[in-house]
């Protein structure tokens, strides 16, 4: 079974702190993604990576950065946390099957609920 793990289930930080959210997948997937989930808005893509050291902005990258130094690990960084970044953060991964990227199933981690005070 594919397993995507996230470093924390719950996190509480103060405004202005630098925050690191870690995600690890164990299936040698090329693609990794960070989303945030807010009630009534579904999931919105923050960043994704299709290879080590490669990254692309998603729909809401402002206030976030990412790092992918190893294939299995994708980190989301909040440089200076703000209260409007309080949310559920979900990491996902997928393999590039070559049959069309849109058909690739994404496998999700359990999520990190971040509260910024």
């Amino acid at each position: 079974d594919v397993k995507v793990t996230q470093s924390s289930r719950y996190l509480v930080k103060r405004t202005g702190e630098k925050v690191f959210l870690e995600c690890v997948q164990d299936m040698d997937h090329e693609n990794m993604f960070w989303y945030r989930q807010d009630p009534g808005l579904g999931l919105r893509l923050i960043y994704f990576s299709y290879d080590v050291k490669m990254k692309e902005k998603g729909d809401i990258p402002e206030g976030y950065s990412v790092s992918r130094e190893k294939k299995e690990r994708f980190s989301l960084i909040l440089e200076s946390a703000s209260t409007n970044q309080t949310s559920m953060y979900l990491c996902a991964s997928s393999v590039s099957s070559g049959g069309g990227l849109s058909t690739d199933t994404q496998y999700f981690g359990p999520g990190t609920r971040l509260t910024v005070l």
Binding site: G42, Q106, F108
Partner: protein, 113 residues
């Protein structure tokens, strides 16, 4: 551009009765369509996906969905609801050759005993 509209934010059904979750999409190209389920305090799990093969797609746990191009719909159904079906369901669309998924706002399903 692409977008997804889930027509009901909340659906309540009795155990043993049918479930219908409605989803409409807009896309300029032939999309791939997915339904994901999220149980409380869990990550999202794929229920089923449509990728331009058969228009009636069968998924896990007795769910199925039908792609109707003329109606731009991809409604999810299950003939008989079970208590374990209580969860949030997301309709998702993606364009061919694009990494990005567009998620609907979600439909919360409640199952009454």
């Amino acid at each position: 551009a692409q977008s997804v509209t889930q027509l009901d934010s909340h659906v309540s059904v009795s155990e043993g009765t049918p479930v219908l979750l409605r989803c409409n999409y807009s896309s300029s190209y032939s999309p791939s369509l997915f339904w994901y389920v999220q149980h409380p305090n869990k990550g999202l799990q794929l229920l089923l996906k449509y990728t331009s093969a058969a228009t009636l797609v069968k998924g896990i746990n007795g769910f199925e969905a039908e792609f109707k191009k003329s109606e731009t719909s991809f409604h999810l159904t299950k003939p008989s609801a079970h208590m374990s079906d209580a969860a949030e369901y997301f309709c998702v669309v993606s364009l061919f050759n694009d990494y990005k998924l567009s998620f609907g706002a979600g439909t919360t399903v409640t199952v009454r005993a």
